[in-house]
């Protein structure tokens, strides 16, 4: 997964050429820790269609503030730099898979 910070966030999600899933996480957040392996597995399944990225809250305070993220984990799918869909909190792997499949159908 690509690690995004305040420095590279906008450029990476705008120039990606395909949708970017961003996992906003925070140190000490138990559900963030539990979500991570689900996303790592899904990254392999969706590698041709979606870029998977992570944002550590402490490394990207401006980005977190810009997108009004106060709860973790928050997962947002960006296309051409714009947030299009997302969810907050821990979800089962299958629910995330279905959400991604639905999102890709719409595009």
């Amino acid at each position: 997964m690509v690690n995004l910070t305040d420095e590279n966030f906008e450029k990476e999600i705008s120039d990606a050429g395909k949708p970017v899933l961003v996992d906003f996480w925070m140190q000490g957040c138990g559900p963030c820790f539990l979500l991570s392996p689900f996303l790592e597995k899904l990254e392999k399944e969706f590698s041709e269609k979606i870029i998977f990225a992570k944002v550590n809250f402490e490394e990207a305070p401006f980005v977190v503030q810009k997108y009004g993220i106060n709860a973790f984990p928050t997962v947002v799918l960006f296309k051409e730099g714009k947030p299009l869909s997302g969810f907050v909190g821990l979800k089962p792997e299958q629910a995330i898979r279905e959400w991604l499949e639905e999102a890709l159908k719409k595009w």
């Binding site: 000490g28 138990g30 977190v64 984990p73 909190g89």
Partner: protein, 89 residues
């Protein structure tokens, strides 16, 4: 730490029962969340929700001490609190 986790789980179990909901039946999730709460208490002085940002503004941060001010509405509307500690059924 294991003993402290067990004790806090018991405490939250009683609280959930009293209020008509349950603890997350997924023991792994439950223990990870409770461990995070204890770590936050050690680091910041209170059991701040490990899924919410501490702002540094006391009045705001008091709202996210577990069980936070949001959990009842979240359980009612989404079937679980944000962190997945409490669930409807």
């Amino acid at each position: 730490m294991v003993k402290k986790i067990d004790e806090l789980i018991k405490k939250y179990e009683q609280y959930a029962k009293k209020n008509g909901f349950f603890l997350n039946p997924d023991r792994k999730t439950l223990r990870v969340v409770v461990k995070s709460l204890l770590e936050r208490e050690k680091k910041f002085g209170s059991k701040f929700c490990p899924c919410r940002r501490i702002t540094g503004v006391q009045k705001e941060d008091e709202k996210i001490v577990c069980p936070c001010v949001y959990h009842l509405r979240e359980i009612k509307e989404q079937g679980r609190c944000l962190c997945g500690l409490f669930v409807k059924k």
